[in-house]
């Protein structure tokens, strides 16, 4: 990935806030596909640059907790865990980095040093093994690194261990994909569209309960829309 790409990705990650709480498009994920460019080299896609930016932080790439380099590493790592593709929103689309950044400055503040040290160890491992920080590695190389963490084979990790760091990043990626948008991820219900979850529905009818088809009767609802309706 070029430096320019990395910078743009950072910007887009920062943009992942302020998701609407109500999506009129229902569960059809096609609209999201239009926001993707297909990357011929990796077979994966990236969000296009015209996504509306509603940054909550002071700079393009610095978060509430993460600094510039940490943002780049987390954005790249979480995107490999849940990569986006046409019609399949991924971690960047959902604003997962923004979710984790906000969580670390609030509910998960006790994990700040866990992340700080985990990212430092990741950076050391990548520089030693591949002579480059994680965010600048090619996707296939990034996957190798993640596999090494998952299997506990990455050297140099003390605390957190490589496996602890992987497991936490995986779980927090899932939270950022699938938690209600009020928490700063799941932008425009990207995660819920991906899997076909209708969100904070208040009622399912007997007909819904008897259906063997995908649920499309109602649009996806988030907590804010649900509150307005009540």
């Amino acid at each position: 990935m070029s430096k320019q790409d990395a910078s743009r990705r950072d910007f887009l990650v920062r943009a992942g806030v302020g998701a609407g709480a109500f999506a009129g498009a229902g569960l059809v994920p096609d609209a999201l596909a239009q926001n993707h460019e297909h990357d011929k080299a990796t077979g994966e896609s990236k969000p296009a640059a015209h996504a509306a930016a509603q940054p909550h932080s002071n700079g393009e790439s610095q978060g509430v907790f993460f600094n510039h380099d940490q943002t780049a590493a987390i954005a790249a790592f979480t995107e490999r865990l849940m990569p986006g593709a046409p019609g399949k929103p991924g971690a960047l689309d959902a604003g997962v980095t923004n979710y984790i950044d906000l969580a670390l400055s609030g509910a998960y503040a006790e994990l700040q040093d866990f992340y700080r040290r985990g990212l430092a160890q990741l950076d050391q491992y990548c520089r030693k093994t591949h002579q480059s920080p994680f965010a600048r590695l090619a996707a296939a190389r990034q996957d190798e690194v993640i596999t090494a963490l998952e299997e506990g084979k990455a050297s140099g990790f003390t605390w957190p261990t490589a496996q602890e760091f992987f497991a936490t990043l995986r779980m927090h990626t899932m939270e950022g994909m699938f938690a209600d948008p009020v928490y700063g991820g799941n932008k425009d219900f990207a995660g819920w569209r991906l899997v076909g979850f209708p969100g904070a529905q208040t009622i399912f009818t007997t007909a819904d309960m008897h259906s063997t088809q995908a649920f499309t009767r109602m649009p996806i609802i988030g907590l804010q829309a649900r509150d307005k309706k009540a």
């Binding site: 490999r80 899932m174 969100g199």
Partner: protein, 573 residues
Amino acid sequence: MATQKTDVVIVGAGAAGGILAAELGKAGMKVIGLERGPRLTTADFSGADELRYFQRQDLRPNTKRQPITWRPNANARAFPVPVQNYGNQAGGGTVHYGAVSWRFHEDDFRVRSQTMELYGAAAIPQDSSLADWPLTYADLEPFYDRAEYELGVSGKAGNLQGRKIDGGNVFEASRRREYPLPALTVDQAGALFEAGARKLGRHPFSTPRAILSQPYHGRPACTYCGFCQAFGCHVGAKSSILVTALPEADATGNFQLITGAMCYRVNSDNSGRVTGIAYYGPDGSDNTIEADLVILAPFIYDNVRLLLLSKTAKFPNGLANSSGEVGKHLMAHITSRVFAAFDDRYVNVFMGPSAQRHTLDDFNADNFDHSGLDFIRGAQISVGPADLEAGPIGTAASMNPPPGVPRWGAAYRDFLAKYFARYAALVAQTENLPYADQTIDLDPNVRDQWGMPAPRLTYDWRRPNELKRIEFVTQKLEELGHAMGATEVWRSPLGSGAPGAHHEGGTRMGSDPKTSVVNRYGQSWDIPNLFIVGSSTHPTMSGFNPTLTIQALAYMSADAIVKRYQKNPGPLV
């Protein structure tokens, strides 16, 4: 420091404490309830926030401020457990539970005797402290009936006064009348389970749940939103103690609930009686309730901890502990899980009341012949979402992909995208025998936010009887998944030896003061004005969820206190 006087003080306003508060208040006794957490209302439950309630456990004790530690054996170091499965507010665990409401089987109350009769004494593992209850199903049946009707439980009878009824649980013990409410609407996971189980000759039925299928006692029916287990009900259709017994207790005019009250000692005097409770208020104040009758009804860890922390010169081993049995015989359900995925249809398991939706009881208790199986007792087998609630965070956390699919990356994303709405989880909730060395005591190293030693669990379920049985029931789950027509069926890896859901034991009831802590009414053998009510008194645990039995026992204890103890405050047995 404040001191209040009252007739009765109850520690914990949950499944047991709330019912006792209502019943004793109705009888004219002045009752003070002490609740560690807040008192929430239905308006507080937006419900549908999976991150807050499931993932971050907002209705559970905070594992940092209120740690419980676990170690697999006495030689290992204990660490705080990451999730606590009980409540932390008025209403207790009934606020966030899945509301599954079982009556135990007849043989659940006499496991030791029945096992010896059917399979001989050698069938009982030598290290198990297997025991009969000091009461029978028939003794408790009127109070099961009471609980179902007072609280509101939906289900279908399978044994009406001895008459077996297909469509209900034909293995259940005889009941005097139907459930107060018809069974809940069957979701698609339940429908698949029903058809698959029938194909195999089993006896499936809709799980009885304390969730209203129709309006009842002024509360509305369930809306099938699916946010039950781990969540508070956003319409009050879940028959939690918060919307049932506590309003009843309020209406007596004899009940005062003090929230934010952390009890740290049961006070006693040299006459051999307890005199009340000492507790910290939310402001850190040190307060006392003086009461003629003290009822302990918090979760099992706090029962044990309070008794051990309240030791005096007269009670050097802790209160109610002349038997030395306090803290022993900890049991927890062992869970085995199999996933079934469907390519040709949607299941939409996120709809409908969560947790154990449809059940078969064919492999529970002694409902099947154990001859030649080399283990005793069984499991409730049910169907539902991956981790009892069906949101995508819980699914991603708890549903391991099938063999050959990684846990991350494009292939994982595609797996989740394809099957999130096309799978069902089959779950065996397996009975854990009691063992004296599965214990709760005080952690010497870890303290909670009040400076009290954390309850420490020493426990490992991986014993021969349990391991053989879990393999047996897991094979039944796989068989069922295939019979349901699933495209793919795969196992979830078994967890570590840590205790699972529904912790029971620690102050077991019995017939002999030398080998038990309380009598059948939850009354301490040593101290007649001290009662302990809740699942800590269960001598064995069944494969069924414990809450309705806790509630029936609370009604029974209340009945004995009102009719007999009030007139003659001495030993009831």
